[in-house]
């Protein structure tokens, strides 16, 4: 009996040491470690790729022998290697973003097990260098060039006197009516140029439209007020209105207090403007620029006080609110087209035609690409990556 228990204990010990050895056995090393300069960058980066360890099942799980990889680097193939970084199991790529240009680097990949690791053979040396052209953006460049050249072409066409057709935009046709209404009722016009700063194209578009609206208010002698959310926008709006009134021959009607700064805070500004709407009861409200959550609050209050409202924004999330609450809405690109539309300046109208060329290109690729993918012919999406 005692002999049997010793034999049993011996077998148990053998078994447990085998399991322990299993845990201490390193995983198979990764292979085919390659290092090359990361393309399309300003240098200082090397891309290291490898074939993962045969013991790596590719996902992070308890049963995966490989717990991750360490990437080692040296400036001499047979010299000392330093640990550069770590990646998770299943990885086969790493970017060394701390390489000096022109310096040869050698890389090894260490497959990490539970208690041990195995190292790959070193890679061939690689040097980081800067590229002159980012080839990933070649299609973007091509498209931008085509659109830009089309715009320039149509601007020249317009300059030469060719009549360009622009479809009617109801919201812009209503500007004169809105200003006229305010004059008849003897009530104010409020112009809200959005809540973003002058670095936003939508704000610039809004300020540009303000110039056209101010010209009309000068002609009609209507009272215009422009509360702004940014001090830079306030400065720009003041200059714009001053210039517009001057060009309309009514510099005497311009007053600096027509444009004033309220606050940068989104809802503080909204509360202040709402208060102005409710107290002043304007006849017309223009909401032109970049808006966020305050769009519906402003538009509903304007609707409540009975003002005619013409809104315009390129914020897709806010468009439904304006459409629901305002009389007219300029949707997306119509906001950018407004200055050209209102001024009827041939050069600006020409740029709108150039835009249409870009749209036709997109339409072509959408239709052709969708048909190709539907019938499994070819995937054109690589052009837009």
């Amino acid at each position: 009996m005692v002999r049997f228990s010793f034999i049993f204990l011996f077998i148990l010990l053998l078994f447990s040491s085998a399991i322990g050895q299993e845990a201490t056995l390193p995983p198979a090393p990764s292979t085919d470690v390659m290092a090359k300069d990361t393309p399309n960058d300003a240098g200082g980066s090397i891309t290291i790729s490898w074939k993962k360890s045969p013991d790596d099942i590719g996902t992070v799980r308890e049963e995966n022998k490989v717990k991750g990889y360490e990437i080692l680097r040296s400036t001499e193939g047979k010299g000392e290697y330093e640990v550069l970084g770590k990646t998770t199991a299943g990885s086969e790529i790493y970017f060394d973003t701390h390489a000096h240009n022109g310096v040869p680097y050698y890389y090894k990949v260490r497959a990490l097990g539970i208690q041990s690791f195995s190292e790959s053979l070193p890679s061939a040396p690689a040097k980081a260098k800067a590229q002159w052209i980012d080839w990933r953006r070649k299609y973007t460049f091509l498209l931008a060039l085509i659109v830009a050249l089309s715009i320039v072409y149509f601007i020249n066409q317009a300059k030469s006197g060719k009549q360009l057709f622009i479809r009617k935009i109801a919201g812009l046709e209503a500007v004169e009516d809105a200003v006229g209404r305010a004059t008849e009722m003897g009530r104010k016009i409020f112009y809200i140029p959005g809540i973003s700063d002058m670095d936003s194209m939508q704000t610039i578009a809004g300020v540009t439209i303000l110039g056209q609206v101010a010209k009309k208010t000068a002609e009609y002698e209507a009272k215009l007020e422009v509360p702004t959310s940014r001090s830079l926008v306030m400065v720009s709006c003041r200059e714009t209105i001053k210039e517009a009134y001057s060009n309309a021959g009514r510099p005497d009607l311009y007053n600096e207090d027509m444009v004033y700064y309220l606050t940068d805070d989104q809802f503080g500004y909204t509360a202040a403007v709402d208060g102005l709407f409710v107290r002043e009861k304007p006849a017309a409200v223009f909401l032109q620029g970049q808006f966020y959550a305050e769009s519906l609050i402003l538009a509903e209050t304007g609707n409540y006080v009975g003002a005619i409202q013409i809104a315009g924004t390129a914020q897709p999330a806010q468009l439904p609110f304006f459409v629901a609450a305002c009389d007219y809405t300029l949707i997306g690109e119509e906001l950018f087209a407004a200055s050209a539309y209102l001024s009827r300046d041939p050069k600006l109208l020409g740029s709108l035609k150039g835009q249409d060329v870009g749209k036709f290109i997109f339409l072509f690729f959408i239709i052709v690409g969708s048909l190709f993918l539907t019938f499994g012919i070819y995937d054109l999406s690589f052009l837009f990556r």
């Binding site: 996902t59 992070v60 717990k67 991750g68 970084g85 770590k86 998770t88 199991a89 790493y94 970017f95 973003t97 701390h98 973003s196 989104q266 809802f267 966020y292 959550a293 409540y304 897709p316 999330a317 806010q318």
Partner: protein, 280 residues
């Protein structure tokens, strides 16, 4: 007829009263509702489940108190999930209030008994890098050098001295990015300036108003998953097995939606009825 005409032009304060009751009253009741987890949320959860313990998750809170009802429950449930799974959390914000909102969420989550057992330490298990001005330029800079973009954390400690930040140089050293966004800068900027150039794995939570705008990025694979509005937050809580605030608030949202739908139907009924009478 007069009643129908009055209904067409009902004083909006009556509508406001109904909405106030519809939103407020359900909050006093705890009603368990069936919430199905949609694929967009399931994909986000699966991507997080694939991260091993110890993975570094960058959380960018890009919202202010106005969006707290929708996004704060998402922040809390995400932190809770990360801490339970031993994921390391690096917090930052592209909005000035973002890091403050993070502190508010951490205050709630760190006091929970399950999380307290973990004995989490600031600087080792989580850090708050604070806010830096610059919007998308901040994201671009992080692509090459995070310590330079955030030299100090929100408390003024040097980033390089924080144990969690050792070896975190750029997006290469971040395993997952999670963005809670209420506008600009937000998820769109993270897609344009982090996912496209640096191939970052990105999941997002957005307000219900903003979420439709993000769907194109989901379908193109630039985003692994999306929590849209409070419903998305509730789905995430269900998926992670910790129903909390978002699930509780869904009853209130459901009743409010139902009341709005009833008003719309009523309005259309009155519209057609008055039109018919005028026609005859």
């Amino acid at each position: 007829m007069k009643f129908l005409e009055k209904l067409l032009a009902v004083d909006r304060r009556i509508i406001f009263l109904f909405i106030a009751i519809a939103v407020a009253l359900p909050l006093f009741f705890v009603v368990k509702l069936h919430i199905e987890v949609t694929p967009v949320v399931r994909n986000l959860h699966n991507a997080l489940e694939a991260l091993p313990p110890g993975s570094k998750v960058l959380v960018s809170l890009d919202y202010d108190p106005g969006s707290m009802p929708e996004l704060q429950p998402m922040a809390e449930s995400f932190f809770r999930y990360c801490f339970n799974r031993d994921l390391k959390v690096i917090i930052m914000g592209l909005w000035p209030n973002g890091p403050i909102q993070a502190n508010v969420a951490l205050e709630v989550v760190l006091k929970e008994p399950e999380i307290m057992k973990k004995n989490l330490k600031y600087g080792i298990d989580y850090v708050n890098l604070g806010y830096t001005a610059g919007n998308e330029v901040v994201i671009e800079r992080m692509g090459s050098d995070i310590p330079v973009t955030f030299p100090k954390d929100y408390s003024g400690n040097k980033t390089e001295d924080l144990p969690l930040m050792k070896g975190v140089m750029n997006f290469n050293n971040i395993d997952f990015v999670y963005n809670l966004s209420a506008g600009y800068p937000g998820t769109v900027e993270w897609v344009l300036f982090a996912v496209d150039p640096y191939k970052v794995k990105l999941g997002a939570g957005n307000t219900a108003v903003q979420a439709p705008q993000i769907y194109p990025y989901l379908n193109s694979g630039q985003l692994v998953g999306l929590l849209g509005g409070m419903k998305g937050g509730a789905e995430f809580e269900i998926a992670t097995g910790y129903p909390a605030k978002a699930v509780r608030y869904m009853f209130s949202q459901s009743v409010a939606h139902a009341v709005i739908c009833l008003f719309i139907l009523l309005g259309n009924f009155a519209y057609f009825a008055t039109r018919k009478k005028k026609g005859s």
